[in-house]
Amino acid sequence: MTFEQSQGVLQQVSRRGFFDRVASGVGGAALAWLLEQDLTASERRIHDLSPKEPNFKPQAQAVIHLFMNGGPSQMDLFDPKPELDRSHGKSYFDKIAGEVESPDSAGLLMRSPFKFKKYGECGMDVSDAMPYFSECVDDVALIRSVHTTNLTHEIALFQVHSGRTLPGYPSFGSWVTYALGSENQNLPAYVVLDDPEGLPINRTQNWQSGFLPPVYQGTRFRATGEPLLHLKREYDEPDRVTFEERQLQRSLDQLHKDRRPFQSQLDARLASYELAARMQLSAVEALDFSQETAETLKMYGIDEPATDSYGRRCLIARRLVERGVRFVQLFINGQIWDNHNEISSTLKSACEKTDKPIAALLKDLKQRGLFDHVLVLWGGEMGRLPIAQLPGDKDERKAGRDHNKNAMVQWLAGAGVKSGTIYGETDEVGLAAAVDKVSITDWHATVLHLLGFDYKHLSYPRNGLEERLTGVSEARVVQEILS
């Protein structure tokens, strides 16, 4: 028997039973092997969520992206600017016209209303708005020189989430799940924990799969109640009845399939119903905090009014990556970091909602040993300007800051990250990244690198092009922040 023949036999034997085995829960590695071995070329075009091998050995296998909607102010949190203190009240607008979204409300240079101190062994500057984060500085790598392309939320969000400035491109999480599949077939591979209060700007487009197959789209998970759409019956029926109906449907589908040999899509469909049943159990279990200690719940700030909502989502994020979910993304409603007004209080309140839960998540991941394969990302879509933004009555006590595309902060923590790193600098007033600049494209390439991919080699054929997360841009992996 030639090799080709033996392959042929293997195909016939194993392909027929393949999806039955998926249905009966063959493990991830076996699945990957089966996919490689068993499928004909046409079937390899079927996109699924089985685990896949990266280009090279990865540092990180799962990602928690803490997305900070609105654009946190870098010079009020992590990037103190003594020159701003000195030049407070000086005019600056004419140097930056065209870079200001609302010229009518542009004021003078404005110092930070927050006090900075150095923390940890690395001596990282953190303002007094983030007391909990300041305890974690030795576990993160902070980049102070990130810049983006547009100063309006919609476009800046597209840039962060899909690497492009137009809707329609696959999100970061979709690329990662397309590349790596999932370790847990009973849960979605890419979970979005959006704010129960409402959808962020760009709504569900933030986690769309664009031209990648829809199976890689982010799945919204609700923090309370039923986590997924259609997870439970939306009508009244005794469980026994439902069970009987499923049995009936299964028998009919089995007959249908038996009359149509070799049609693997029918196997896949049967398997999808089995998977749906298992997902019903797994998804509910992932949200069940009864196994968590009171201490853990307290650490995340659960049941405290300010932190309950975000704390729950942080804890769910940990539980999901523990269960093999590849990409977890947290969104916040209400643009809490978009501090156009009264930054002294609005920024503080944003920190009060998120600071404690995020610090808890870092500590929790670390103490559970999850830092060896989970990567945590923190950051928004843009930064803010060094000049004040004033309300209609020009009352300086109500001053906030307008959007800034030229400087922003992102930090990373966990797998593969050189902890306690402070990287990059902005100019003297914090208007623009100046030293060791990092574009959003660089940031994407760096995260892909941590996941075991060369950004140039993660592509999808479309319209005659090999599409990439980073488009045609050249990118730089920021080696300096990697361990």
Binding site: Q12, T40, A41, S42, F93, D94, A97, G98, V100, E101, P103, N150, L151, T152, H153, E154, I155, L166, P167, G168, Y169, I201, N202, Q205, G210, P213, P214, R222, E226, L228, L229, H230, L231, R233, E234, Y235, P238, V241, E244, E245, R246, L248, Q249, L252, D253, L255, H256, R260, F262, Q263, Q265, L266, R269, S272, Y273, A276, Q280, N463, G464, L465
Partner: protein, 1004 residues
């Protein structure tokens, strides 16, 4: 001036070496003879202007094609001073003072350049001599110095980018127009804008320098960015050097062969016009119903295979229904076909389905995918709704139903506004209306220009690029995107061609004169919104009549209420007066009817005393007179009902040529701030013979429209166009046979798939054209073939010999698309409202993320009529792989994932429809189980259940009834209705199980 390097290592390419040496010898021998013949006139004396007057134009005309801004063969660019000095890949090309050592001189003297073997003429002896003299005299760039090459072409695009929004086509603030040198010299209210040679004296520079212009606080309002320092420098240098105007014309195709695309490039199969091939002869002639079968069989037989057996009659019927109308057959339709034993029953069914109004809804949807149809703009969070986009959707559906010839269909969509002078038409006919609505085709992409902050020039260029991408991927089957930034890496599409093509669209898509998506007001008054008023005269009249009727009827109602009010007023007055002393009554009546100013003192006195209590306002009257209250409420209701009949003023969402397009410059690397050569309108060179100019004429005498798009549409629909017909027949094929003959539907280029059956593709393309571009004729041809009528049953032989079905050894089994699944659920449940056309049905967005459609009085309409807002996609469609239209969708992916199962199992709406399905079954079949099962199968699958299925269903119904009964208390069970009720519920379960079954959503 930079010191020139010696020409070490200059090597002409090998292939011309021998030729060159030969020429070299020949030339040297006769050089001395020729030289004395050159007449040296005074004008050609090598003075300061020699370079700009003589050498630059020479380089431009004879060298730039291959050594210019767009193309730099051998890395040599002779269009700029730096390029001449730098030389090419082999080093410097001129040595100042030493022509004999200058490779450039050597090459032109020896006629090695311009290359004769590529069809170029050599330079004249005089031209060669000019170059020799110029180099000999030191190769000076002359008075112009560094600015020698700065012309209006370096400056005009900057002014378009930064200034013309207020000093240009529509608005000339301060009377100033900055579009041309002449208009700058003329200047505005404060005098000329430029003083050639004196930048410091030029108002333009002063205003820029002082940062007064562009006004810093206003730039964002008009989506302009402040001018950049290097741009100011360029303008200064240009003015300093005398504001030179070069007479280089825009780059367009001429009768000279195109240097950038060779005939060899054109040899690729898809760039050659399709030829009618010979139909092959085959062994299994009994299976040949039409030539399609011969082409398919020939390939199969070569592999020792043949067509799969013909599918069952019932399978064929269901396949046809879903394929052509997207709806399952009703029991009546099933009987009509299954009981028709005439020999042409199948062909009759095909005709019935092609004549069905549902055909256009099914096939129009595919076209809407290609256009990227959407009822909203997207990009911005507000996701502004396009109120009149639905007219385009209706146009497409009607066009398919009417079998509008494809060439006409394309022409209307690309250039409908240039087909008739709609602005001066006495009557807007349905045809003119259709022409304009059709242009919505290139208005469908996501578009952020609803807001200033996402309406900058690069944002607009992205939109234009998306629209060109829609056009090229949908219609031309080519990938054009690459050429926006550089020459296409795999297909022979030069960077230049992208910009020539964008120049065709400039009259409608002008990045410097952008028609905003939302309403604007400025010096020219209100504008924007992309809507035209030219709905049909009939619709306009109807709308006006309706408005008038509502206004009149409302007025009548109000009048009747008013007269009733005065009656009640009188009545109340009398009631009140009756309570007052009799002698006063007459005087009071008189006082009330006398206007204030005419009252005498007594009346005035009476007024102060009694008027307040004798006058009743409407609210008081309503309280006093319950009858009046009732009447007023009724009339309010009627007026409101009338107002509900009002319709928004009808507009067309369209794309139209506005005349006066800005000049088109190549953007180097796609960067809107790096201008290359100016180009004129033109088509892709590779799809022409390369030596035919693109001719544009005004669409009618004195038209303001450029006529460019119309010329393009005419070119695109020429019978010999290599791609148009092939791309379309391939798409029709794909939707009937599951895969295209060229599998990459949007890419017929070198990176696309090769056709599996090239002769068949060409035969179909020729048939398509010869049948007057009739799409329905194509359907008829395809679905009546034996290839289409094959069974989808897979065998081991097929699996081994044709695993990917490249040979079409069977019909592929397919899962229905998202819309078909939803429409089928509604149809089988008897809840499909088949009302076509009109504004889309609204959707409800639940906090949970679920998006559902709102129903009508008759149920729910077909999915194609539901509002398609980018941010609110129906969850059912999303779960079943509806793609995002970003910018369009060239082919739909199919996935099989758990959320689909969860949706069909647990969704309330699906369950409700199962209840309606069950009620329908009971209505038809009564309460007997066998009849119920038979009817359920017939409705869901258009067939009878098998014996085995019957047994399973019967047992299950019994089990389910028992389960439902067991839920009841002992007392409830005693009721006679209990068993019947349980049986009804069990029937709902059966129907719900059928909705969830594989057969329901798959086509054999």
């Amino acid at each position: 001036m930079k010191k020139l390097h010696s020409p070490i290592g200059y090597h002409p390419p090998l292939k011309s070496q021998v030729f060159r040496i030969f020429l070299c010898c020949a030339m040297i021998s006769c050089a001395n003879v020729l030289l004395p013949n050159i007449i040296a006139d005074d004008k050609s004396a090598v003075d300061e202007n020699f370079y700009s007057k003589t050498i630059l134009p020479l380089f431009r005309d004879r060298c730039w094609k291959c050594h210019g801004d767009d193309v730099q063969k051998g890395e040599l660019n002779l269009s700029i001073r730096e390029g001449v000095l730098k030389g090419g890949e082999s080093g410097a090309v001129i040595v100042a003072g030493k022509p004999e050592e200058s490779p450039l001189y050597e090459a032109i003297r020896d006629h090695y350049m311009p290359p004769e073997n590529e069809g170029e003429r050599p330079l004249t002896d005089q031209q060669v001599e000019f170059v020799r003299r110029w180099i000999a005299a030191g190769a000076s760039f002359g008075t112009a110095g560094d600015s020698a090459t700065i012309t209006q072409h370096d400056v005009i695009p900057i002014l378009w980018l930064r200034c013309t929004v207020c000093h240009g086509t529509h608005v000339q603030e301060g009377g100033l127009d900055l579009r041309t040198k002449a208009s700058m010299l003329k200047g505005g209210n404060s005098g000329p804008a430029i003083v050639p040679g004196q930048p410091e004296e030029s108002l333009l520079i002063k205003k820029i320098r002082s940062e007064e212009m562009p006004p810093r606080r206003k730039v964002v309002d008009v989506s302009i960015k402040p001018i950049e320092p290097d741009e100011t420098d360029t303008i200064i240098a240009w003015i300093a050097a005398g504001a030179l105007e070069s007479d280089i014309p825009p780059d367009i195709a001429t009768t000279d062969p195109d240097p950038l695309v060779s005939d060899e490039d054109r040899d690729f199969w898809s760039f050659q016009p399709p030829q009618l091939p010979t139909v092959p002869s085959v062994v299994h002639t009994d299976r040949v119903r039409n030539p399609i079968d011969a082409f398919v069989l020939a390939k199969l037989e070569a592999k020792g295979m043949t067509l799969a057996p013909e599918a069952d009659r019932q399978v064929l019927m269901r396949r046809l229904f879903f394929d052509l109308t997207g709806l399952p057959p009703t029991p009546e339709e099933t009987s009509q076909f299954m009981e028709d034993d005439s020999p042409n029953a199948y062909e009759k069914l095909v005709n019935r389905l092609l004549d069905s109004p549902h055909y256009g809804e099914r096939w129009g949807r595919y076209w809407l995918d290609l256009a990227g149809y959407s009822d909203s703009y997207g990009v911005q969070h507000a996701d502004v709704v396009r109120k009149n986009a639905w007219r385009y959707r209706d146009y497409v559906i009607r066009a398919f139903n009417d079998d509008k010839p494809y060439n006409r269909f394309l022409t209307e969509q690309i250039a409908g506004d240039e087909l008739a002078d709609y602005e001066h038409a006495p009557v807007i006919t349905p045809e003119i209306y259709d022409n304009l609505v059709a242009t919505g085709f290139l208005r469908m992409t996501p578009d952020g220009s609803t807001a200033n902050i996402t309406n900058f020039v690069p944002d607009r260029l992205d939109i234009i690029s998306d629209e060109l991408n829609v056009l090229s991927s949908a219609v031309m089957g080519l990938t054009l995107k690459c050429a926006r930034c550089h020459t296409h890496k795999s297909d022979p599409i030069p960077h230049r061609d992208y910009y020539r093509l964008s120049a065709i669209f400039k009259g409608a898509f002008d990045e410097h004169d952008w028609l905003k998506a939302t309403k604007e007001t400025d010096a020219r008054g209100p504008w924007g919104e992309r809507k035209l008023k030219f709905v049909t005269t009939e619709e306009q009249n109807e709308w006006e009549a309706n408005e008038k009727r509502i206004a009149e009827e409302s007025a009548k109602l109000r009048e009747s209420l008013a007269s009733k009010e005065s009656e009640y007023n009188k009545k109340q007055l009398e009631t009140k007066l009756a309570t007052l002393p009799e002698p006063l009554r007459d005087d009071l009546r008189k006082m009330l009817t006398t206007p204030d100013e005419q009252r005498d003192d007594i009346q005035k006195y009476l007024a102060t005393k009694f008027e307040a209590e004798l006058k009743f306002n409407t609210d008081e009257l309503k309280k006093l007179e319950p009858e009046f209250q009732k009447l007023a409420d009724e009339i309010d209701r009627q007026v409101k009902a009338l107002n509900d009949q009002r319709r928004p003023e009808p507009y067309i969402f369209a794309l139209w040529d506005r005349g006066e397009p800005s000049p088109t410059y190549i953007y180097k690397r796609g960067d809107y701030k790096k201008f290359g050569r100016e180009v004129g309108p033109g088509v892709l060179s590779v799809l022409t013979d390369g030596k035919t100019p693109f001719v544009v004429t005004p669409p009618w005498p004195d038209a303001k429209q450029t006529g460019r798009r119309l010329a393009f549409a005419r070119w695109l629909t020429e019978p010999n166009h290599p791609l148009t017909a092939r791309v379309m027949v391939n798409r029709i094929w794909r939707h009937h046979f599951g895969a295209g003959i060229v599998r990459s539907l949007d890419n017929f280029g070198k990176t696309g798939d090769l056709p599996t059956h090239p002769e068949l593709l060409d035969w179909l393309a020729r048939m398509f054209i010869d049948n007057g571009w009739s799409i329905k004729e194509m359907h008829r041809l395809m679905v009546t073939s034996s290839a289409y009528r094959q069974s989808s049953r897979l065998t081991e032989e097929m699996e081994q010999q044709d695993p990917e079905n490249m040979l079409l050894s069977r019909m592929p089994m397919r899962r229905n698309e998202a819309e078909i699944i939803r429409d089928s659920l509604l149809a089988v449940a008897g809840r499909l409202d088949v009302t076509p056309f009109g504004p889309p049905d609204a959707v409800d967005s639940h906090p949970s993320g679920l998006v559902v459609s709102q129903g009508t009085d008759l149920g729910w309409r077909r999915t194609v009529y539901i509002l398609q807002r980018r941010t609110q996609t129906l969850t059912m469609l999303e779960d079943f792989d509806l793609p995002q239209m970003l910018p369009n969708c060239v082919d739909r992916p199919i996935s099989t994932v758990a959320p689909q199962a969860l949706h069909l199992m647990n969704n309330q709406f699906v369950h409700k429809l199962a209840e309606r399905f069950a009620a329908r079954v009971k209505d038809i079949a009564g309460t007997e189980t066998p009849a119920q099962i038979e009817v359920a199968w017939k409705l869901a699958f258009a067939r009878k259940p098998t014996i085995e299925e019957n047994q399973i269903a019967t047992t299950a119904l019994k089990e389910l009834s028992d389960q439902w009964l067991s839920q009841l208390s002992v007392d409830e069970k005693k009721s006679t209705d209990a068993a019947a009720e349980a049986a009804e519920k069990a029937l709902v379960n059966l129907c719900h199980a059928l909705f969830n079954s594989a057969e329901f959503i798959t086509i054999d």
